[in-house]
C-alpha cells in the first residue's frame, strides 16, 4: 500500500456519499422484490446511475490529480484523512 495523493474534503464527501448510497442500494436490493413495482423500478434505475457517478468520480479525480497507478493495482481512499492509496492486487 502506497500513498499516492490527497483529495479535498468536498471531493471526499462526494465519494463517501456515493459509496454509502451504493452500499445502501445493494442491501436494499436484497429485500426488495419486483412485486413492489414502483420502488423496485426506482431502485434498478438508481443503482445504475449511482454506479456510473461512482466510477466517474474516480476517473475525473485520477485525471485531475494524475495519481500513480499500476496494472495490477487499484486505488483506495481513507475517509478520515482524504488520502488516496495505491493497492497492489497481487
Amino acid at each position: 500500500m502506497k500513498t499516492v495523493g490527497l483529495v479535498t474534503l468536498e471531493e471526499k464527501n462526494e465519494i463517501q456519499t456515493l459509496f454509502e448510497r451504493r452500499n445502501g442500494l445493494n442491501e436494499l436490493a436484497k429485500i426488495l422484490t419486483p412485486d413492489n413495482e414502483a420502488l423496485y423500478q426506482k431502485l434498478v434505475k438508481d443503482m445504475g446511475e449511482t454506479g456510473t457517478k461512482f466510477q466517474k468520480w474516480w476517473d475525473s479525480m485520477a485525471t485531475k490529480y494524475q495519481w500513480e497507478g499500476s496494472e495490477n493495482g487499484h486505488w483506495e481512499i481513507n475517509f478520515e484523512t482524504c488520502e488516496i492509496f495505491l493497492i497492489d492486487n497481487n
Binding site: 459509496f19 429485500i31 483506495e76 478520515e80
Partner: protein, 402 residues
Amino acid sequence: MIKNNDSSWQSNIAKTITFIVTKDCQLACKYCYLVGKNTKERMSWDVAKQAIDYILDNEYDENFNHDSVIFDFIGGEPFLEIELIDQICDYIKSELYRRNHHWFNSYRFSFSTNGINYHEEKVQRFIEKNITHLSIGITIDGTQQKHDLNRIWKGDGPERGSYDDVVRNIPLWLSQFPGGATKVTISSADIPYIKESVLHLYSLGIHEVNINCVFEDVWEEGDDKKFEEQLMELADAIIDNDLYKDYACSFYTEHMGKPMDCKLENNNWCGAGQMLAIDAAGNFYPCTRFAQYSLRDKKAWIIGNIHSGIDKNKLRPFLTLDRCTQSTQECIDCEVASGCAWCQGENYDAADTPTIYQRATAICKMHKARVRANNYYWNKLYRKLELEGEEKPAEKTFNLNC
C-alpha cells in the same frame, strides 16, 4: 476502493437512536447497571414501526436533522430479538429509500452484544444481509478468570461463567469485522486482572480495547493504588513489546489529566439528550440509562412517547447542561480534570435530589490513578521513541460511550 474505521463512524455528527428491544439477557453480570431486567418487556413490531414512522416523519425537526444516523439495538441482549431487529432494519431501509430521506446515504445499525448467540444462523443471516451498515461490538472482559468473575449465566445453581461461550465466536466476528473493538468494564474485583486481560484480548486478535471503570460507587480502600500499578505494568508490556504500533487501549490517552477552564472547556461529557432511546412501551428517553430498568433509586425520565412525540421541554436541561454547573468546586478546581468521565444517568440515579445537575464523584480516585499511569505511559513511550529515533505515533481516538 474505500477505507474507513467503522468503530467511530461519524462520531459527533450522527444521531443515535436506541431501540431497547428486550430487557432479557442470558447472563446476569455482577456489574450490570440494569437493575430491572426481565423476560416480559419485549418490544412489539407495532411499537417499533410507530417509533420509526414518528422519527422519519420528523426529518427536518432539530432532533432528527443530523447528517447521519446510528440505529442502535440494545437489551438485555439484543440478538435474543434478532427476528424483530431484522424486521425493523428492513423497514428502516425501505422507508428511508421510499421517502428519499437524507439518512439513506448515511446510516448504521449498531449492536453491543454478549456474543453468545453470534454464530446462530438467524444472526449470521442478518449480518450477511446488512454487512456494510453494521457496527457490532462483542463484550469480552479479558482472560477467562476475569471474564467469568462477573459475566455469569443467569439462573439458580452453581455460578457458571460465559467465557467459553463467547470466545468461540471471536474468530468469526473478527473475520467479519477485522477492526472490531471490545468493551471492558472494570469493577473493584477486576483490578488485579487488568494487565493480563488486555494482553489476552490482543492475543485473540482484538486490536482495540475500550475499557472503563464503572461509574457506580463500588470502590474500596486501596483500589486506586492497585489500579495504578496494573496500568503501569500494562504500559510496560505494551511499550516493551512494541504493541502500541498495532494495538490500542483506551486507558492511555495523550491529552488528559490537565486542569480545565470553566469558560473555554465547559462542554458536558455525556451525550444524553442528544440521543433518543425507545422502550417496549413506546416511551422515549434521553438515553437508555434513564429508562426505569436502569435506575436503582429514581423515577424514569420520560421525554415523550410514540403517540405524542418528544416533549422538548424535558430535553432542555440536557441540552443546556455544562460541565461546571453540575460539578463540585473540587472538580472545578481539580488539577487533573481533563479526561475525567461521568454518566448522566448514574449522576441522576446517585443524586441527593431528582436532578441531572449533581455530578457523582465515586470515580475520582480511580481517575487520578489513571492519570498517573497515563503520564508514565507517555513519558516512557516518548523516551523510547526518542532513543530509537522514531516519530511519535498518531494518537488513536476511542469510542468511550458508556
